[in-house]
């Protein structure tokens, strides 16, 4: 039997404000084979501006840390031991209130290509969405160069489309005709899938986080986008992708790891209160682009 491909996102955790709002405390995590990281993380807490989660809290918008051995990352040794190369911290805001900070850890090597991009529009400064930072790992610098010099308008390109829809966008099989504007550069460096979602901010800016990955390195085992149902019914699986079964839609909801009563309850709660959750190896990441939750992304690592 073939071993399952390693995913690009390999570990996830989330941090919630302490009762007095002065610190971020550990809320939960799924660390895969990053055992040292799993062992030391629950004991930590972060002040505003401290560490990767605290930096996202301070900024008010997501942070990409392309090098985990950066001085602002306190768990560098443990991350390096597990082959984790890059971290992303995503603050979840409801209005001006911080609900949580979700941190995703990614890893790649010569056999596993992937990229992360953080795009941001500051309306007072520009009508364009430009790259704040990115991690391009082993994809080489062709794709990175073009990304760093390109700005997207609302509705154009993966970032612009996500910005316009205010909802996650998944593109499979990038290449000719996919409509991905940097398709040629992406395919040349092995990237053929992209997933992007809008992020909440507390400063009026608009942020989009994009994950780009190669066939041999799925972004996650399974990515699902759930939206609230009308008339008090269960949440609806609207789109997604599974590493083994392919594109997902409402018909595949029964096969979701969240199809259990507990999973549905967690989903309903995340949709209702915008708080992340982790069950087993599945991270529930609420999408609250305009301060209220419009969808939940479920990432199975």
């Amino acid at each position: 039997m073939m071993a399952a491909a390693r995913t690009f996102i390999r570990a996830a955790e989330y941090w919630v404000p302490s009762s007095d709002g002065s610190l971020l405390e550990f809320g939960g995590g799924s660390f895969g084979d990053a055992s040292r990281l799993a062992a030391i993380t629950p004991q930590l807490c972060f002040g505003r501006g401290e560490g990767l989660p605290g930096q996202a809290w301070e900024n008010g918008y997501p942070v990409v840390l392309p090098q985990l051995d950066h001085s602002n990352f306190r768990r560098a040794d443990a991350a390096r031991a597990a082959g984790l190369t890059c971290g992303v911290a995503i603050p979840l805001w409801q209005g001006t209130q911080l609900r949580a900070v979700v941190v995703l850890f990614c890893g790649d090597d010569e056999q596993h290509a992937g990229a992360i991009e953080l795009w941001r529009n500051v309306p007072e400064v520009s009508p364009d969405m430009g790259l704040v930072d990115g991690y391009y790992g082993t994809t080489g610098d062709t794709f990175e160069f073009i990304s760093r010099n390109t700005q997207f308008r609302r509705g154009t390109g993966l970032p612009g489309l996500t910005w316009e829809r205010q909802a996650p966008v998944f593109l499979d099989n990038l290449g000719k005709g996919s409509g991905f504007l940097r398709a040629d550069s992406a395919v040349r460096v092995g990237i053929n899938r992209a997933y992007a979602f809008p992020c909440s901010t507390n400063d009026g800016s608009v942020c989009v986080m994009a994950f780009l990955s190669a066939l041999a390195t799925p972004i996650a085992r399974r990515i699902e986008t759930w939206q609230p149902a009308t008339h008090n019914k269960s949440p609806v699986l609207v789109s997604g992708f599974c590493d083994t079964t392919g594109v997902l839609g409402p018909a595949q909801a029964a096969a979701s790891p969240l199809a259990t009563p507990q999973g549905q309850a967690l989903l309903s709660r995340a949709l209702a209160d915008g708080a992340p959750a982790i069950t087993g190896s599945v991270l529930l990441l609420p999408i609250c682009p305009a301060g209220h939750t419009t969808a939940v992304v479920a990432l199975q690592l």
Binding site: S126, I146, T156, L158, L161, G179, L181, S185
Partner: protein
């Protein structure tokens, strides 16, 4: 004045009345051009590039939105914004000198005396290397030289902005390359702010600081903006093998060809 916002285009829409009803050529156009910046507008035919240039020139007024140049609303054509057309638009009965002098006199005639106006005209001809053709009429010079006279006429008016609508589109490839190189040198010398419409990907990458890529019409808008950070002065022979030049070129081609036929699907 904020030099980074020398030209400001805010929420511009341009619609026309047609026998079949209202036709929206451009919509949601937001763009800023910095002082001294060279911006290329590129896109497929009918995407409204020239319409946008005409709006900046003040030749037409937008149906919605505002356009500002040096913090003043663009309410009509003015000598602060000189236009160079694909068709050189020279008067055939006047010499090269007289064609340029006509514009110079209109702009500076009230404040300067004749010797100064003549000097301005001579300087403009020298700038484009046409001193030897001073007394020739348009019918006696080549297409490339006519276009040089058009550029000299525009620059002689010391405009704040040079607007160029496919200025080299009607020229053969070799003449076009030569004039592009000359334009690069002139713009570097004059530090002019330039907005140029082009269909030519190489021309856009070679000349521009910023390439504004437009979506297909109708209701065209700006899709993507590419910042070209190639060192100046630019040498076309050296750039042909420059990997960054190749990447920029590829990015523009990706945009134009990915968009083509996938108007509603772009992502």
């Amino acid at each position: 004045m904020n030099d980074s916002k020398f030209i400001q285009i805010q929420g511009v829409e341009q619609a026309f009345k047609t026998p079949k009803g209202r036709f929206v050529a451009l919509q949601g156009i937001d763009l800023t051009v910095a002082k001294g910046e060279f911006v290329a507008l590129i896109g497929h035919s009918g995407c409204g590039k020239s319409t946008l240039l005409n709006l900046i020139a003040g030749l037409t007024r937008p149906t919605q939105g505002t356009l500002l140049c040096a913090n003043r609303e663009i309410a009509g054509p003015g000598p602060d914004r000189a236009m160079v057309f694909q068709n050189h638009s020279l008067l055939p009965w006047l010499t090269c000198f007289e064609n340029i002098y006509l514009g110079v006199e209109r702009v500076f005639g009230r404040t300067e005396k004749k010797p100064q106006l003549q000097q301005r005209t001579d300087d403009a001809l020298a700038l484009v290397g046409l001193t030897h053709a001073t007394h020739k009429r348009p019918g006696e010079i080549s297409g490339g030289m006519k276009q040089r006279v058009g550029i000299a006429r525009a620059l002689a008016m010391e405009p704040k902005v040079l607007l160029m609508d496919e200025p080299f589109g009607a020229l053969d490839a070799l003449t076009r390359a030569k004039l592009q190189d000359e334009l690069l040198a002139i713009v570097q010398k004059t530090q002019s702010t330039v907005v140029m419409v082009t269909h030519d990907v190489d021309e856009a990458v070679l000349l521009s600081d910023k390439i504004v890529m437009m979506t297909n019409g109708p209701a065209a808008t700006i899709g993507e903006v590419l910042s070209v950070k190639l060192p100046c002065p630019r040498n076309r022979v050296e750039l042909a093998e420059d990997r960054h030049y190749v990447m920029y070129r590829k990015a523009v081609i990706d945009f134009l060809y990915t968009r083509q036929g996938h108007v509603e699907k772009a992502a």
